[in-house]
């Protein structure tokens, strides 16, 4: 029993060291580059290249609590889309936000890392594991 626990702990340490190593090789700038690719294709039309959105229609991604706040809520927005109006910095926006569940876990992690660290935003990365976990909850 004891041995098993020790093995598991060692295993976990190994795994996390592995993840660390992976993270530093697959550096943040790479994540950002990949994220920008996804953004340009699937988000930019509505939220615009500068992340400031379109008045009355599509909200900004610059400096909103939805982008820099809870990661699970953010992942859900991309997976499920939105139809009920959100109040974003005191304004409401009239377009619907389509579900983007057709994107892979990797693409979603990349694009969310990108928007959380662009347009003046500074927030933590989103990992594929976090996206996978949210998708499984559906």
């Amino acid at each position: 029993m004891r041995l098993k626990v020790v093995i598991i702990i060692i295993g976990l340490i190994f795994l996390s060291v592995g993840a660390f190593a992976q993270k530093s090789t697959q550096s943040k700038s790479k994540l950002m580059l990949n994220g920008k690719k996804v953004y340009d294709m699937y988000c930019q039309a509505c939220h615009q290249a500068d992340g400031n959105g379109v008045p009355r229609l599509n909200p900004p991604l610059a400096g909103t609590v939805y982008v820099t706040g809870s990661k699970t809520r953010l992942i859900d927005i991309v997976l499920n889309g939105l139809t009920d109006p959100l109040e974003i910095n005191g304004e409401e926006y009239n377009n619907p936000m389509a579900a983007h569940s057709f994107l892979t876990d990797q693409q979603i992690a990349d694009v969310l890392t990108y928007i959380r660290n662009s347009f003046g935003n500074k927030a933590g990365v989103v990992t594929t594991a976090e996206v996978k976990k949210q998708r499984a909850k559906k």
């Binding site: 699937y42 400031n52 009355r56």
Partner: protein, 414 residues
């Protein structure tokens, strides 16, 4: 050398001083025309109307000091509209004057206010409800209005959808045939103005197959309805294998139609393609960029470059402008957003010469420069966005802006 530095430094100081007063973008017009700002800083000024006595009415899509309609009046006839009246506690887009009433719309209700002999509003706090309960699902919810000579009211009920997919704006979601939205939206409805408290069922679906006919005007020369329609979004983003970035920016056309009772403009099944001059089947309905569709739908009079957002239409009936403008169409383009990453386009007022109800030549840009920059790469940077048009009794025209809440009066000076 020192002199040069001094001059440069002085110029910089000058520049800063000059740049201090409120930024006004120069509006470019054809020779002989001039523009004047008659209203500013009223926020989201959508459609506008000018009464026979010169009063300017503006419908606001965001309340300013709790009010959604502003009237400006030149009380002492000095050319400056110094007198302001604000009323109406609802937001919206449509506004028009007809037969002794001011009509104004929220996104679900058409109201009207009686005007007395002096053109004052009899009861600004108690409008009559002409039609109530129109579909309002936020997307394409603006209700623009016009009237025919008999006094019938026409209202645009935009489709709350991009192309009537099972899941709106979802990549890969198929289009619905028949599209159920068309039963109570996606067209123009006609209502009588002799009755109040009507609902959709009291009206007649006058024409269908329109995604969002935000520009709407009656052409008194030929006694027909004319509209401008916003075309669909996302051809490139959802079908890059058929529409590359450039084609997706140019297509589909924004369209200008002459509409008779019973006409169908083809949405959501087709879009107009002004390169091929055809009704092209939308990919959500099996299209490949070439296949045609909706054989019974009418074709537009003009197909404009994509996504420029024709927010208002005015058929010119005045005598002030040179003869070529009579019976022609002015169209206010709000300016695009989903041409990204290509530069945005629009932000101007276009003129289409017409006679006997049909175009007689190519369209041209009439008033330009509203965005205050070229190119516009990010929409939120644009200074102004043309949204409403109106004609004054003297034949001048007015252009409104829902970005900074400006209204320009454009006149011809001979």
């Amino acid at each position: 050398m020192q002199k040069i530095i001094l001059v440069v430094a002085m110029l910089m100081v000058l520049n800063i001083v000059v740049a201090q007063p409120k930024q006004q973008v120069p509006i470019q017009l054809p020779t002989g025309f001039s523009s004047k700002i008659v209203a500013n800083d009223l926020g989201r000024v959508r459609h506008i109307a000018v009464n026979s006595n010169g009063d300017l009415y503006m419908k606001l899509d965001r309340l300013v000091n709790g009010k959604g309609i502003y009237r400006l009046r030149d009380k002492n006839n000095d050319g400056v509209m110094e007198d302001t009246l604000a009323f109406g506690n609802y937001t919206g887009t449509g506004i028009a004057i007809n037969n002794g009433y001011l009509y104004a719309t929220s996104d679900q209700t058409i109201y009207r206010y009686k005007l007395d002999a002096n053109q004052n509003i009899v009861n600004p706090d108690q409008p009559e409800i002409v039609v109530d309960g129109l579909i309002n699902k936020r997307q394409h919810a603006s209700k623009s209005i016009t009237f025919d000579k008999e006094g019938n009211l026409y209202v645009n009920i935009g489709a709350p959808s991009n192309v009537c997919q099972e899941q709106d704006r979802q990549k890969g979601s198929p289009g619905l045939t028949p599209c159920p939205i068309l039963e109570n939206a996606g067209g123009i409805w006609q209502f009588s103005t002799t009755k109040t408290n009507q609902t959709l069922n009291d009206g007649v679906r006058y024409a269908t197959g329109m995604r969002n006919a935000l520009g709407i005007d009656w052409n008194n020369e030929v006694n027909d309805l004319y509209v401008t329609i916003h075309g669909r979004d996302m051809l490139y983003q959802y079908f890059p294998e058929m529409y590359d970035q450039k084609r997706g920016a140019e297509l589909p056309s924004e369209t200008f139609y002459r509409v008779k009772k019973g006409d169908d403009c083809g949405w959501p099944y087709i879009h107009w393609d002004h390169f091929q001059n055809k009704k092209i089947l939308n990919p959500e309905y099996g299209g490949d960029g070439k296949k045609e569709g909706a054989p019974n739908a009418i074709s537009p009079l003009v197909g404009f470059p994509g996504h420029m957002a024709p927010n208002a239409l005015l058929i010119y009936s005045g005598n002030q402008f040179p003869a070529k403008y009579k019976h022609g169409a002015f169209i206010a383009f709000h300016g695009s957003w989903n041409r990204t990453p290509e530069p945005q386009e629009g932000f101007y007022v276009v003129f289409v010469p017409m006679k006997d109800g049909v175009p007689t030549g190519k369209w041209e840009v009439f008033a330009d420069g509203f965005s205050g920059m070229t190119p516009v790469t990010n929409l939120s940077a644009a200074k102004h966005r043309p949204t409403g048009l109106a004609q004054g009794e003297d034949g001048s025209i007015y252009v409104s802006d829902d970005k900074a809440g400006y209204v320009w009066k454009i006149s011809y000076n001979k």
